[in-house]
């Protein structure tokens, strides 16, 4: 539709439309289509789709040591925990993207994998945020560290670190308040939380997770860029994939910022969290 190349086959232009409609964005789509048109020799749709999948996967980061597509994948983190290390998961992202719910899901998942897990309610800002997370912690059967609304989020994190060590947990999951990436003061607050974790649990493996709502458009690139700048992003949780959105923006972020998508959220239930499977994702996208 927008390439304007007379020599594009119908298949290429259909693919371009699918990628744009899936929020891959103009630039990433054009890069992919250009490479595809160079590599593809037949116009057999199955061959074209298969090559398309390869190109997208090559552009994204798949083989991180904590990514699920690494042969040892989350088993690496699992092994670390089994060897007595603490893994601290820090959950952050823009308002409403599914952080609190994902903390509950992740706690449930780890608990069921036999990992001693602790949750920290470091969203001391939004009304009923602590109550919401407390309900999830009960459902996951995992203890929770919290303070009153309005307290310093850093203080909750500080407490949680002490608790994590004292109880010798395997995993600490820290929920934070939603924040817009263009609000400097809030981004500085997040940076401070990261510093506290680094300082108070230097021996822990820190996994910094950014939640990206699958229904978000190109603004998610700015979100990921800023969060990466202020806090550093180790992995993306692509939430609400059960919606009518495809979440292609997460692939674009992965390609641009070289960050792996680690988990996908596929619903509002406690079990609706999966290790991100890029092959399964692309199969559904291009079916």
């Amino acid at each position: 539709i927008f390439t304007g190349k007379k020599e594009s086959t119908q298949v290429l232009s259909d693919i371009e439309e699918i990628l744009i409609a899936s929020d891959f964005g103009i630039d990433f789509t054009q890069q992919i289509i250009e490479q595809l048109s160079k590599r593809v020799v037949s116009s057999n749709p199955d061959e074209v789709i298969s090559e398309l999948k390869n190109i997208i996967k090559e552009k994204m980061v798949i083989d991180s040591e904590i990514s699920s597509n690494h042969p040892d994948s989350s088993h690496d983190l699992s092994r670390e925990m089994n060897q007595g290390s603490i893994v601290a998961y820090l959950m952050f992202g823009v308002n409403g993207t599914g952080k609190t719910t994902t903390c509950g899901k992740l706690a449930y998942k780890l608990k069921n994998e036999g990992k001693k897990t602790l949750i920290a309610a470091a969203d001391t800002h939004r009304d009923a945020a602590v109550e919401q997370l407390a309900i999830w912690s009960k459902r996951a059967n995992v203890p929770i560290i919290s303070q009153y609304q309005g307290s310093d989020p850093g203080a909750v994190v500080y407490d949680a670190c002490d608790s994590a060590r004292a109880r010798s947990v395997d995993a600490l999951i820290v929920d934070t308040a939603g924040r817009l990436h263009n609000k400097e003061r809030l981004m500085e607050e997040l940076k401070k939380i990261v510093r506290i974790l680094d300082k108070k649990l230097p021996e822990a493996k820190l996994v910094k997770l950014l939640t990206v709502d699958a229904t978000t458009g190109q603004n998610a690139i700015a979100q990921a860029t800023q969060f990466n700048e202020y806090a550093g992003v180790d992995g993306i949780v692509l939430t609400k994939l059960d919606s009518s959105a495809k979440g292609g923006i997460a692939c674009t972020i992965s390609g641009l910022l070289k960050i792996p998508i680690l988990y996908s959220g596929t619903g509002e239930g406690i079990e609706d969290l999966a290790d991100f499977d890029v092959d399964e994702y692309l199969d559904i996208l291009l079916s």
Binding site: A128, Q132, I135, L180, T215, G217, Q218, N219, S244, A245
Partner: protein, 292 residues
């Protein structure tokens, strides 16, 4: 920026008599790309730009303005037209209880908007407004509305162990009893493709016959904005759209997509997490933001 790209095009064009395919061809392409980058749905981009182009074609090029610039102005005017006549209007009747129902995807800002809208109604229409906690599903949703509502001086109607349509019906009876002039219903977030949950909204609508059914959507919504707006509109008949989180740096193209596909106006925008972070919508402001 679009203006930089257009000035490059303008350098090539001199003294054309009227707007035609060739002297605005680059302008058309640049506008389409700019709208896509701003998250306007690609089908809406194509249709909208084609409509504007048809309309603009053959127009005499105005003195002292270059063809591509004139075309951009035509696009801008077209955007403003589609985005609606400007927000702020609500169907609040003088007698009885005006019911405003908020709907939308999960996490779009409904609960926060419920309190903001109530504040607006009280201020601008002088109606004592009841908040109705009709989301029994999300953990601590009712608590969230209760805390936010109460600290801002509102009464919040909550009922445990009851389904949303009945909660809303009972809330209206309570509102009548206590002489409220308006009620804002906070519903649970849901997917427009979730048949059961969409049926529930229809049941609420049938029970309380709202005067306004407002779709609350994130300003940063991507291509799916068309499907979402269409889904809620076809099922319920929405009366307006509220864009939340406009204090982000999202361009807000979803606004154009949703207004275009539903024919409904954007009435308000949310500009922060506080109850006063709520403004009436100005089409020209978002038109510039989208086209920037």
């Amino acid at each position: 920026a679009l203006s930089e790209r257009l000035s490059g095009v303008l350098k090539k064009i001199r003294g054309w008599g009227s707007l035609n395919e060739s002297n605005i061809k680059d302008g058309i392409r640049d506008i389409k790309l700019a709208l896509l980058e701003a998250d306007v749905n690609y089908k809406v981009v194509k249709e909208f730009v084609d409509d504007v182009t048809k309309e603009a074609m053959g127009e005499k090029v105005l003195k002292s303005i270059k063809p591509a610039q004139q075309f951009t102005k035509a696009v801008y005017d077209g955007l403003v037209r589609i985005l609606g006549v400007g927000g702020g209007e609500l169907s609040i009747k003088s007698g009885g209880i005006s019911v405003l129902m908020l709907v939308g995807l999960q996490g779009s800002g409904k609960t926060t908007t419920c309190v903001k809208l109530a504040r607006w109604v009280e201020k601008n229409y002088n109606k004592k407004t009841l908040l109705v906690a009709a989301d029994p599903y999300r953990p601590a949703a009712m608590e969230q509305l209760d805390l936010l509502g109460s600290k801002n001086g509102f009464t919040v109607f909550k009922k445990e162990k009851m389904k949303p349509p009945d909660i809303c019906r009972e809330a209206l009876e309570y509102a009548k009893e206590k002489s409220f002039g308006a009620a804002v219903l906070d519903t649970a977030g849901r997917l427009e493709i979730d048949e059961q949950m969409m049926d529930e909204l229809t049941r609420i609508k049938d029970k309380v016959d709202p005067h306004e059914i407002l779709l609350v959507a994130d300003a940063a919504t991507g291509q799916v904005a068309v499907k979402v707006a269409q889904g809620f509109n076809e099922r319920l008949g929405i009366t307006g759209i509220i864009l939340s989180r406009m204090d982000s740096d999202a361009r807000g193209g979803a606004a154009l997509s949703m207004a275009y596909i539903t024919g409904k106006a954007i009435s308000f925008i949310g500009t922060g997490e506080k109850v006063d972070d709520f403004e009436k919508f100005y089409p020209d402001r978002i038109a510039s933001r989208i086209l920037d």
